[in-house]
């Protein structure tokens, strides 16, 4: 009897938490199938005629508003997001994994300081670096280029990769690599055949997380890129038009833009938890 009561209470508590966290997502999803009129009516209601107009506008690139037809660059923004996030993560893995290995295995002068400096980029508000960065970028001709954005995105991705992967290298221990070398294999072979495979859960988790963080970035792209290089996070601003805010389209854009990361996160959930919990315990 007491068992049953406990189970019911536990279920209720769980439901409450779920409602709290899922409500905004559900609401956005509902909004994306409504017109501005039904969204803005008071009091709000769950009853409405679903419409695909918002999605259609996004995908066809034209938006009908009361003040005329607008060009929408949403698909281009989506493409930018994919391009920027993937290339940034790729670059940060290429740089970060060997660096993480070096920090895990070798003690060198200023090693900890460098590692911490890299991490501290995550603490600093982006606005702190934006002003000098945009000046530099204009100097160097990197402003409004993909290369420049990818470079700046390393501020987001590299610390993540470095710290998560480092703890995995440390966890795997140097002993198995030593054993591999004593078997007669070179250091490089040991790095590829033993160290990397053993750190793989961490590398995967770090890569996924870095991808999501890069995808969600807003402010770097807003300042450093013009419309044709901007990702979806910035692109959604286009719906704040002179004639009003297109809530329906914004909602649809959000739904479409979170889909890739959501799918990725769900697919790799196990890896993410495994890879990150180690970092949390050991880090």
């Amino acid at each position: 009897m007491a068992d049953l009561v406990l189970r019911v209470l536990r279920g209720l508590a769980l439901a409450l938490v779920l409602v709290f966290f899922l409500f905004p997502i559900v609401w956005i999803l509902l909004m994306s199938f409504q017109t501005n009129e039904t969204i803005l009516r008071l009091p709000p209601s769950l009853a409405f005629d679903p419409t695909l107009a918002n999605y259609k506008a996004l995908l066809t690139g034209t938006m009908e508003t009361s003040s005329g037809t607008l060009q929408v660059t949403f698909l281009r923004n989506l493409g930018n997001s994919v391009l920027l996030a993937s290339l940034s993560v790729g670059l940060s893995l290429l740089l970060g994994v060997p660096a993480a290995y070096a920090f895990a295995r070798f003690r060198f002068r200023l090693g900890e300081d460098i590692a911490f400096t890299l991490l501290s980029f995550r603490f600093a508000p982006p606005l702190l670096v934006l002003l000098p960065l945009s000046l530099y970028f204009n100097e160097l001709g990197l402003a409004d280029t993909y290369a420049g954005l990818i470079w700046v995105y390393q501020l987001i991705c590299l610390p993540l990769v470095l710290w998560i992967v480092r703890s995995h290298f440390e966890e795997a221990g140097v002993e198995v690599e030593n054993a591999y070398r004593l078997d007669g294999h070179s250091w490089w072979a040991g790095f590829r055949k033993v160290a990397i495979p053993l750190a793989m859960p961490g590398i995967a988790a770090a890569g996924l997380l870095a991808f999501i963080f890069a995808w969600n970035n807003f402010v770097f792209a807003l300042i450093l890129a013009s419309a044709d290089k901007q990702p979806v996070t910035v692109g959604a601003l286009a719906f704040v038009t002179a004639s009003g805010i297109q809530y329906g389209q914004i909602a649809a854009a959000i739904v479409l833009s979170i889909l890739p990361t959501l799918a990725l996160a769900l697919y790799a959930q196990r890896w993410l938890v495994e890879g990150l919990s180690l970092g949390a315990v050991k880090g």
Binding site: L182, D183, G184, H185
Partner: protein, 364 residues
């Protein structure tokens, strides 16, 4: 065969920052010979092995089968090594773990399969070759690690306390099997342990590492019966040796904790800091007074394996430990403890100055 064809270590030094861990270690191991490197934990045994393997920066010379390897990276030294924590490759099945050194030598696939099969049969792990390391029992892991170390038939083997992490039953089994296996491999083997029984069971010689140096390098029985220093005497033996401060008596005798034994012939008198070392198994308990025996009472009886370990307090207040093959007297009983003079050890300044009181004297 001489050590020149086996493993030769000369003047090995290693330091962590300012702390000198190895201060000039010399060790020679002939092919087919097993030398146990023994010492308490933290004394630098593993550092020594790692230095020989090329995993630790070290000074001095190391040669394997007549080839100087000191300057070479680990993979070029041609050594086999078994680690305390096994260090198996978790992402590879046992078969690939064992095959690893053979693959490094780029042997043909058929030859690799043949050799892995042979060594696995020898170590009785043929039935688990396709298992991942996490699916193996500790004993199987340890055998797999040994198989990997032996697979390429290295001329020198480094075994870093490989039985540390297996249960008692397996430890005994391997203790009995290993000598045969190692002799058959023909490799010059250094076996690290901090268990003196394992050292005595497995080593043709035992090298005791203390304070960065080999303080004694001798057959196991010699280390046990004639330890070079007090420290070695304390480390060898369970229960450990009784160490009692000794004073000389008139008439060529000495006294310690109420026990009296004859002074060694070569010694006219004892140095002031002399200590008498008496192994617990060389103490006997008598029910009545006897010449030279110390009156004592039984404080506690704590059996160990086949023996009865008896904690005594002498009339003069010292503690003595006796290890008896037969039955022990009850707690509280009054007994007289007598020493076997032939096994008495005398130390001064930490060094052994004599053993077997009343007989021969070691070079002090």
């Amino acid at each position: 065969m001489s050590a020149a064809e086996g493993l030769l270590i000369r003047g090995l030094t290693a330091a962590f920052g300012k702390r000198e861990v190895l201060r000039g270690v010399d060790l020679a191991v002939a092919p087919g010979e097993t030398v146990v490197l023994f010492g308490p934990s933290g004394v630098g045994k593993t550092v020594l092995l790692r230095a020989v393997a090329g995993l630790e920066r070290a000074g001095g010379e190391v040669s394997v089968a007549g080839r100087e390897v000191s300057g070479l990276p680990p993979e070029a030294r041609g050594l086999g090594m078994a680690f305390q924590n096994f260090a198996l490759y978790p992402h590879l099945p046992a078969r690939e773990n064992i095959a690893s050194p053979l693959r490094a030598r780029r042997l043909p696939e058929a030859e690799i399969a043949r050799r892995v099969g042979a060594i696995a049969a020898l170590l009785r792990i043929g039935h688990v070759l396709d298992h991942a390391p996490r699916e193996l029992s500790n004993g199987q892991k340890q055998r797999t690690a040994l198989a990997r170390a032996l697979a390429a038939e290295p001329r020198a083997l480094l075994l870093d306390d490989p039985l540390r992490n297996v249960d008692a039953k397996l430890r005994y089994e391997m203790r009995l099997e290993l000598p045969r296996l190692l002799a058959r491999s023909g490799a010059a083997a250094i076996y690290v342990t901090q268990d003196y029984r394992e050292a005595m069971a497995l080593g043709q010689r035992v090298a005791v590492l203390l304070d960065g140096r080999i303080v004694q390098d001798a057959p196991p029985e010699e280390v046990y019966d004639q330890p070079a220093t007090v420290e070695v005497a304390r480390l060898f033996g369970d229960p450990p040796i009784n160490l009692l401060s000794a004073e000389s008596l008139p008439g060529g005798r000495l006294r310690a904790a109420g026990l009296e034994v004859p002074l060694p012939d070569s010694l006219r008198a004892l140095p002031p800091d002399a200590q008498l070392g008496l192994r617990p198994e060389h103490l006997s308990l008598l029910p009545s007074p006897a010449p030279g025996a110390a009156p004592a009472s039984v404080v506690a009886v704590t059996p160990l394996h086949e023996r009865q370990v008896v904690l005594l307090r002498t009339a003069s207040g010292e503690e003595l430990v006796a290890s008896l093959a037969g039955a022990a007297p009850p707690v509280g009983a009054a007994v007289w403890a007598a020493a076997e003079p032939g096994h008495a050890l005398l130390f001064a300044g930490g060094q052994r100055i004599a053993h077997g009181a009343g007989r021969e004297v070691a070079a002090a």
